[in-house]
Amino acid sequence: MITRIINILKSDKGVSDYRINILKRESYELFFVHKDLETVRSTDTTDIKVTVFVENGDKLGDATFSVYSSYTDEMIAKEIESAKKKAALAGNKPYALPENETGIWESKSNFKGYSAPELAAMVADAAFKADSYEGGSINALEIFIYKDTVTVKNSRNIDKTETQYSAMVEAIPTWNGEKESVELYECYNFTEFDASAVTAEIDGKMREVRDRLVAIKPESKLNCRVVLTASELGHLFGNLASNLNYSSVYNHVNAFSKGDDVQKSPVGDKLTVTMKGRMTGSVSSCAFDASGVTTRDAEVIKDGKAVGYYGPVRFASYLGEEPTGNIRCIKAECGTLTDKELSSAPYFKCVSMSGLQLDIYNDYIGGEVRLAYYFDGEKEIPVTGISISGKLSDALSNMRLSNEETTYESYKGPKYAVFENIEIV
């Protein structure tokens, strides 16, 4: 099929350049309702997307279409013709497409040692091992095992393929009290199977949902430091870094540029963030991006200042910079805050939020908290039904970062961070 597509593209003089992106996904999926296996799915699908580039005077346009396995040569030719017309309407500034690079990669993973059904069953066993509490249970569990073969080819001798392994577990831990029942949502992605790690992850959520049942709404306003953990920190630092993506800078939607202070007058720990293409254990790790650029790391924030940009080839080219590829893994340096120092004064640690709301333009950080632990100086008390709200610039300037590193999804960095002056409402 690919050879046929390439031959048709090459024979069409109206096509200046082309790119073909292929995603072959083999999946094995289990859907449990309580402990009953309701549905088993297995898929083997291939997505082919063809992008046609058309030079139009001093402009370069492109248009993309999908090709399905049932397409004849005539249908492919018709799609190319339609894409050429659309591309001719898109008058973009030209940029140099990636060229002359080939390679084959395979992400590090022990998934290869198992068949997909075997692995899915082991993941399910590991998850349900945590369903061992009187009063608590896993209401629903969905397991997705993926083997992805990602390929990009273009008209300039780019031909790269990477095999990626990943798994996703979605679990709904529930705790039933006398009068009510509460739940939390857990979504856990990994690339290396470790049964004890899966059990520990789900077990941690089971204990949190147990605490959510007894969690109280504070009678009076809490005034103390707010602690955010890895999942929220990945979102926060990723949001800051996105302002330094070439596309944000070129389109003038970045809130700050190279040389600007990301943290204004920091009195806490200074932030250093590197965007990475490959990170062991991360489902966002990739050897190359969709354009075919081999990914490389970029330090974007150093000691609280924006120091670099990153991003895809098109906008890198427009800005006269070297592309890093569209990289999505985040590495933040740890700070100086110890557990002992954290426990030296009251704090409010958010462990489950509906979603951390960030608005750089309006200088806002906040969100609804489903479960937090309020440390009153002696013990942690589970708390629920409240929100946090504050000025983002203020939070960043007084931020203290844990001296202990952790990995969560596409984030590697401080296990937690402490913020002053965030209101608990």
């Binding site: 309580h34 549905t39 699908t45 949502y185 979504c187 979603g355 608005d359 929100s387």
Partner: protein, 280 residues
């Protein structure tokens, strides 16, 4: 760009006809310019519980997040939805009526049949404040012994079908918007959906509006606040609905996920609502 901060705003036109959507753009430009100037002066809101008027997009967000997810009947099968225990009971103010369906109105989530092959329906979910029905796919309906409602949708042929919303909205009432604003001594009118999150088990809601305008002594002021996060208990919110405007707008540019996956196109909307809710 004010020199101290950068502000972004958006305006849009909505139609199922491309020509209509494009033709509507020029008249939105001066509105957009005025809006971004006002947003440049926006301040953070003082957190608290307020009387609020919601614009149709926020009304739709409430319908979708607060209630829609809670009545997806695959959640009934999993004992994940508190709403299951409230079928036939009051869950909202008696002036509140809500629908969902691919055949309930004509918008982005309209179709003739769902991904299970069940014909599209118009399902009334809340009637005069009482929860009367949920929405289901074929598997859930079979397990519950109910009729499927044409809400079996999948992100693509590669994904499983689940019970999903389509076009979800409150129906118009009898009040005039200007009377609703006049009825508020101190509160806000909220505009433009940013995002929302559901919690069907515990019936909590978090919705974010792009901005709000302060209402003082029954009049809209020049005081803008942004962003605004609305949160709290769904039954409390819906039972607090005290006025419903007589107009209607449905907005079809959103996507909805089941957790953080399974994305499908949806629309939501309705009239303006007067509610009492926590803002931060």
């Amino acid at each position: 760009h004010t020199g101290e901060k950068m502000v972004m705003a958006r305006e849009g036109t909505y139609s199922n006809l491309m020509r209509e959507a494009i033709d509507g753009i020029p008249e939105r430009i001066p509105v957009l310019v005025e809006k971004v100037k006002k947003l440049a002066t926006a301040k953070p809101i003082t957190p608290g519980v307020y009387d609020v008027i919601t614009d149709p997009s926020i009304s739709g967000l409430i319908a979708h997040e607060a209630f829609g997810h809670g009545v997806e009947m695959d959640q009934f099968v999993k004992d994940r939805a508190l709403a299951k225990e409230y079928v036939g009971k009051y869950v909202a103010s008696p002036i509140c009526n809500m629908h969902d369906g691919a055949a309930a109105t004509f918008s982005t989530a309209s179709y003739f049949f769902d991904d299970d092959g069940v014909l599209a329906h118009d399902t009334q979910i809340i009637k005069d404040g009482i929860l009367v029905a949920g929405i289901s796919d074929l598997v859930s309906a079979t397990e519950l012994g109910t009729e499927p409602t044409g809400n079996g949708r999948r992100q693509s042929y590669k994904r499983k079908a689940y019970s999903r919303m389509t076009n979800t909205f409150f129906t118009p009432g009898k009040d005039k918007l200007e009377d609703m604003i006049k009825s508020i001594k101190h509160g806000y009118m909220l505009f433009e959906t940013n995002n929302g999150m559901e919690d069907p088990k515990n019936w909590q809601i978090q919705c974010t509006a792009e901005y709000g305008i302060e209402i003082i002594d029954g009049k809209l002021t020049d005081n803008y606040v942004s962003p605004v996060v609305m949160s709290g208990s769904v039954p409390e919110l819906l039972k607090s609905i005290s006025m419903v405007s007589d107009d209607f707008k449905i907005i079809g540019s959103g996507s909805c996920g089941k957790g953080y996956k399974e994305w499908v196109r949806v629309s939501d909307g309705g009239p303006a609502l007067k509610v009492r809710v926590k803002l931060a």
